[in-house]
């Protein structure tokens, strides 16, 4: 099939699965428009950007748009809010839907005014011709939108945009900054009980014994709920639920689980795996010109999401029907897995999204929803609110997988890369609900008749998962990229911001610098020498300019480094220069970033996402690793899992390269890998020693110096 026919058949973004116009918007008599999306606000500002797109195509002031929180009973099913795809999926669909809606509104207005559409004067929903007047609010009723979206209706042109491209302030921040109730954690329903759950201290141990009678006798405890190894408590007051949880934790006896491997990277490399060659290029003539070969191994630890607010949910049975309020990234998939776990019909479960604390991937949000539902089964119809405690979150939310990587290269006599090999070892990067035969929810694995825990998987290329960004964007005559998928999971793993791209880009870009050093070529020039893609070259050149790369003054203990990637090889182009000082530990002083996301919908939003991603990546890269002993995760609080503090945060400058004629891509994950690589390269530049295992702690740096 050729590309043109293909494009005709496939409807833009989420229209493919949600083709009805009425699924996307409704115009109200009061001069507002409700806009429906299946994508959810997780702190990234997506609702604001989508409101801008809707306002633009409808020709309305953005204040008229009311973004409706996703709800399985009301909203288009747009899968999961992940992969930096919301602007592509929901944005593209809304653009078309709103363009069609405006055309229908104008048609009806013209008919009502007995005029031709061309003669109408339209401003912010008010339509006038020759002294006669109507409005979208008067025309938008009945079944006007009860049709399929016609995606051939001309949408606005980027050069005419008035709302898209503007730094429109976030629509959710006024409530949040004033402290007004807006989060899921803030819901207060009449008669609400507070729940907490009790899990084994380590791993997937089964409950051996529990005398819960003292807890049942505690004043204010409404119920102790036990279903196999699932244990929870309901109380009238939240602090009582927490105290009861503490008492139950002390009283519960658990069977020991299987011991965990201590050197996870050696374990990954030696354990049974399925391997797949994901990219291969051969040019024997070029290969024969290799005069020197290089090899280096890199490692990334398990990482925690470590959101400031632990996961929460509210659940209530209304007769036979269950309503769950959740901060999940995928409410439809969650509904399916909750129904499966509880033996209910999907149509009897409604999941409503409510905003929670920052979400950076598949955290505990889905799990806690089933916890709340299980407790709500025993609450006599009263709503149940449940927020995990800090240690629940660190112990039970899936971790970003540990990864091991080995890279090899052959250089010709001029230092050009003739051969490139990249092997990676990792568990799966997705254990999200909705994709397996059994529920991907912790409590389902602990029930009296436990569901089988299925292994996390990897999504296929080109986006990939463990192998995301493993295929270099550089042009090498020979290359071989191998993904070793390790199915068995010592620790539960799933999607964390950028998936495998963080480690793959860290390894590729570290290795590029090692090769540049061997070839005695400047790292920026060395990259450009191997890179044809003009947008890639543009971000590298822009960041080098901004950093005044060539004017760098060498000084003891200071270094600078560059990192680059095109996220997923499909999305945002991002290049980062890091400037560091290394004494006892690494201090990142400054990050300079150039990014190209195509058409920029909201420049402040893109900058905020890139800047936030870079700071989070700095924290991962300098400090973070989930700690394990042979029984399980031992980093259960902030003292064991430190993250970057205000006084440690580098200055960050973001330069956006706007390309109004090119489609918008997401910005949320583009900075993760390049930032890590830039910092690692800057540290190597400062010290003359390469640290290949993350995080770049003082212990690792000292060990690397001693090995030299």
């Amino acid at each position: 099939m050729n590309a043109v026919t293909d494009a005709k058949l496939k409807r833009p973004g989420s229209l493919e699965k949600n083709p009805r116009l009425s699924q996307w918007l409704r115009v109200h008599r009061d001069g507002t428009v409700s806009v429906y999306t299946g994508k959810v606000e997780i702190g990234q500002g997506i609702l604001t950007a989508l409101a801008q797109i809707a306002a633009e195509e409808l020709g309305l002031a953005p204040e008229r748009i009311r973004m409706v929180a996703a709800d399985t009973a009301l909203s288009p099913d747009e899968g999961v809010t992940s992969g930096s795809l919301s602007i592509q999926d929901s944005g593209a669909a809304l653009r078309r839907a709103c363009a069609h809606a405006r055309a229908l509104l104008l048609e009806r207005a013209a008919a009502g005014l007995n005029a031709s559409i061309a003669d109408l004067r339209v401003a912010d929903g008010v339509v006038q011709v020759a002294g006669r007047k109507t409005s979208f609010w008067e025309c938008g009723g009945d079944a006007l939108f009860d049709c399929e979206v016609d995606d051939t209706v001309t949408a606005g042109l980027p050069r005419d945009y008035r709302v898209v491209g503007q730094p429109v302030p976030r629509i959710d921040l006024p409530d949040k900054i004033a402290g007004r109730p807006r989060y899921l954690q803030d819901m207060a329903l009449p008669g609400m009980l507070f729940g907490r759950v009790v899990r084994p201290p380590y791993g997937f141990a089964r409950l051996a014994a529990l005398d819960d009678s003292p807890v049942k006798a505690m004043p204010g405890v409404a119920a102790v709920v036990r279903e196999g190894s699932f244990v929870g408590v309901l109380a009238e007051r939240e602090e009582t639920a927490i105290a009861a949880q503490g008492a139950l934790r002390k009283a519960a006896e658990w069977e020991a689980g299987a011991p965990l491997p201590q050197d996870i990277h050696a374990w990954l490399k030696s354990h049974a795996s399925d391997h797949k060659v994901i990219s291969e290029k051969t040019d024997p003539a070029a290969k024969s010109r290799s005069t020197s070969t290089f090899e280096a191994s890199y490692a990334k630890p398990y990482l925690s999401h470590a959101s400031i607010g632990p996961s929460s949910a509210v659940a209530q049975f209304q007769g036979d029907k269950l309503v769950v309020w959740s901060q999940s990234q995928g409410i439809f998939n969650l509904r399916r897995d909750i129904a499966l776990a509880l033996g209910m019909r999907e149509k009897d479960v409604v999941v409503r999204h409510a905003e929670g604390a920052g979400c950076y991937g598949h955290n505990g949000a889905d799990d806690v929803a089933l916890d709340a539902a299980l407790l709500a089964r025993r609450s006599g119809g009263r709503p149940v609110q449940l927020q995990w405690m800090r240690d629940d979150e660190f112990a039970w939310a899936p971790c970003g997988p540990a990864m091991a990587l080995t890279l090899r290269a052959g250089l010709d006599s001029q230092g050009n890369i003739m051969d490139w090999q990249h092997e990676l070892w990792s568990n799966g990067h997705s254990g999200r609900p909705g994709r397996s035969d059994t529920p991907a929810l912790v409590a389902a694995w602990h029930l009296a008749r436990p569901f089988e825990r299925s292994a996390s998987i990897n999504m296929p290329l080109p986006a990939g998962a463990a192998d995301r960004n493993a295929i270099p964007l550089y042009d090498f005559p020979n290359q071989r990229i191998v993904n070793h998928y390790v199915r068995e999971m010592p620790v539960r793993t799933s999607a964390l911001r950028s998936l495998g791209a963080y480690a793959n880009v860290f390894a590729i870009e570290s290795f590029m610098d090692e090769l540049a050093l061997a070839a005695r070529v400047d790292p920026v020039a060395y990259r450009l020498r191997h890179l044809k893609d003009p947008r890639a070259r543009a971000v590298i050149e822009a960041v080098a300019r901004r950093a005044k790369w060539e004017e760098w003054k060498e000084a003891e203990g200071r270094g600078h480094g560059i990192g680059f990637a095109k996220y997923k090889n499909l999305g945002a182009y991002c290049a980062v220069v890091a400037e560091v000082e290394v004494e006892d530990e690494v201090r990142v002083k400054r990050l300079l970033i150039a990014v190209d996301v195509g058409l920029v919908v909201n420049p402040n939003g893109v900058a905020n996402q890139i800047e936030g991603g870079a700071i989070q990546s700095t924290s991962w890269t300098l400090k973070e690793q989930v700690r394990l002993d042979e029984r399980g995760i031992t980093s259960l609080g902030w003292e064991d899992y430190p993250i970057l503090k205000f006084s440690e945060v580098p200055a960050v400058e973001v330069e956006l390269i706007d390309r109004p004629e090119l489609p918008s891509v997401g910005a949320g994950e583009g900075a993760q890998g390049p930032t890590a690589a830039a910092i690692a390269n800057a540290v190597a530049h400062a010290l003359g020693v390469r640290v290949r295992e993350l995080p770049l702690t003082s212990e690792r740096i000292i060990a690397a110096i001693e090995r030299q």
Binding site: S307, G358, N604, G637, F646
Partner: protein, 155 residues
């Protein structure tokens, strides 16, 4: 067990019927409906639940009610003059200084305590004052700029 504890919350004399061991956080959130003070860790290490107790920023999650008897508590809802936001809150909006904003209340409280003592702080004083607050989304620099703006020091 139960008892009456009296203290001032956002300028209003308040009486709560609860055990003296109840963490202040739950009295504020669940008895008084002041949801702006947020649970983060339960051990005073993240700052999400900071409130002003007699002008000092302190974690509400491990402050028992008995210890605030007779004291003046200010939560994020009571930072500004009646019916308006605090200049810090206006500055946070102007700088769009948040992503998820879950940590913001506690950070506003720390910043308010700082500006009370040091109305014209340097940037490094602001960072030092906010070091007891964690932010995971990476909005730190925007928040520092917002505090400087509120202090008339920048932007």
């Amino acid at each position: 067990m139960g008892g009456r504890i009296t203290f001032t919350v956002n300028g209003a004399l308040t009486e709560i019927e609860a055990s003296g061991d109840t963490p202040l956080l739950y009295a504020l959130r669940n008895d008084l409906g002041l949801k702006g003070t947020r649970f983060g860790c339960g051990s005073g290490q993240c700052g999400a639940c900071f409130v002003l107790i007699d002008g000092h920023a302190a974690p509400a999650c491990d402050t028992p009610l008995w210890s605030v008897s007779g004291k003046k508590i200010t939560t994020v809802e009571g930072l500004g003059p009646k019916g308006d936001l605090h200049p810090l809150q206006h500055a946070f909006l102007a700088e769009q200084a948040a992503q998820c904003a879950y940590c913001t209340s506690g950070i506003l409280i720390s910043a308010a305590a700082l500006l009370e003592k040091t109305p014209k702080p340097t940037e490094s004083q602001v960072r030092a004052a906010l070091d007891r607050n964690l932010c995971r989304c990476g909005s730190h620099n925007r928040m520092v700029r917002a505090v400087m703006r509120a202090a008339g020091q920048g932007a």
